[in-house]
Symmetry: C2
Subunit: 216 residues, 2 copies
Amino acid sequence: MAILDKNELLELNSRYRATLINSLAGFKTAVLVGTENNEGQSNLAIFNSLIHIGANPPIYAFICRPDTVRRDTLSNILETGSYSFNYVQSSDFAKAHQTSAKYETEISEFEAVGFGKTYFEGFSAPFVSEAPIKIAMKFIEKIDIAINGTIMVLGSIEKIVFDDHLLAEDGFIALEKADILACTGLDAYYKSEFLGRLSYAKPETEPKRIDTETQV
Amino acid sequence: MAILDKNELLELNSRYRATLINSLAGFKTAVLVGTENNEGQSNLAIFNSLIHIGANPPIYAFICRPDTVRRDTLSNILETGSYSFNYVQSSDFAKAHQTSAKYETEISEFEAVGFGKTYFEGFSAPFVSEAPIKIAMKFIEKIDIAINGTIMVLGSIEKIVFDDHLLAEDGFIALEKADILACTGLDAYYKSEFLGRLSYAKPETEPKRIDTETQV
């Protein structure tokens, strides 16, 4: 067994520590965030920090580090209030990763990386055409996390666009049926293998498998 | 294609909407949070909202809903300042899920569900013996998310305990080598299939695969 104490963590080379702490934070969906500034310059950047805040009303958040390349994303969101979350298929993992390169502001990652761009009426933010799941977001507020200057961006879900066959009869979205890309840390990518859904847990019974039919 | 607009989302049955919005939030690692109150009553609860806040110093957060069964976890953290994150193997998914049952405060989910309990010197919080990755956390602060009463709990990483073979030469922790359990929503569980790691992205080059050797 390896044991690392806080003092040992703090003495590590900063890149090694960043790789360790980022990868240790676990599996996430790789999310491409689409934005556009008021001049119509579009931006696409990969994030791995989508957070469920609430379902009523539907609110998601993500974490922005002000010292990263992703500041185009944040400044576009603050300028227009509009952004998109796009989940991609696992076969697109290299293209998704490439959106993290430090392109100049006047370069659109859609074109540079090779994703199609599409729009929905009422939203200035662009969406990834190939994304099996697209979510239109509207900025609500940002919360500054004082301890390290990180920013949490909260937004409301305004529209969800996805393939019908992903939706089960009880509202469950089966991400594995669209082969949605997952990731850990800053550079590791994964497919998912579905194990099952389990019934609502109660103290006196063992959980049972739920078999939900998806809609046709 | 299915399209759901915000007004349609708000008109859905609340359980259907919760299932939809929770599952749509994507893949996460299933994390068992271990705590103990000052009387030595231990608690174990599954969470799916671990958030990487920063690596220097190492800080993780998670989201707590005050209206859920998991309030024992939050009150124990506020009482002692100590908690543990435990990642489990995918074969333990039914036991992990069962920790979400509403056991009485005086019932320890460790015993009720059948996980071993272990301690490390200097930390009052219990750990899951079977967990291939154990993280000792120290409470820093909670941030109230006013819009829906959700609470973000921030803590510093005080100790990491894991199998040596998971650690690559550059600090990367290969969760797939311990078959770490992932999940979506409140009841769906997944194994991961590793696709690869990619080199630091630069505008003028295509990402290459990184082959990191793990330590022996």
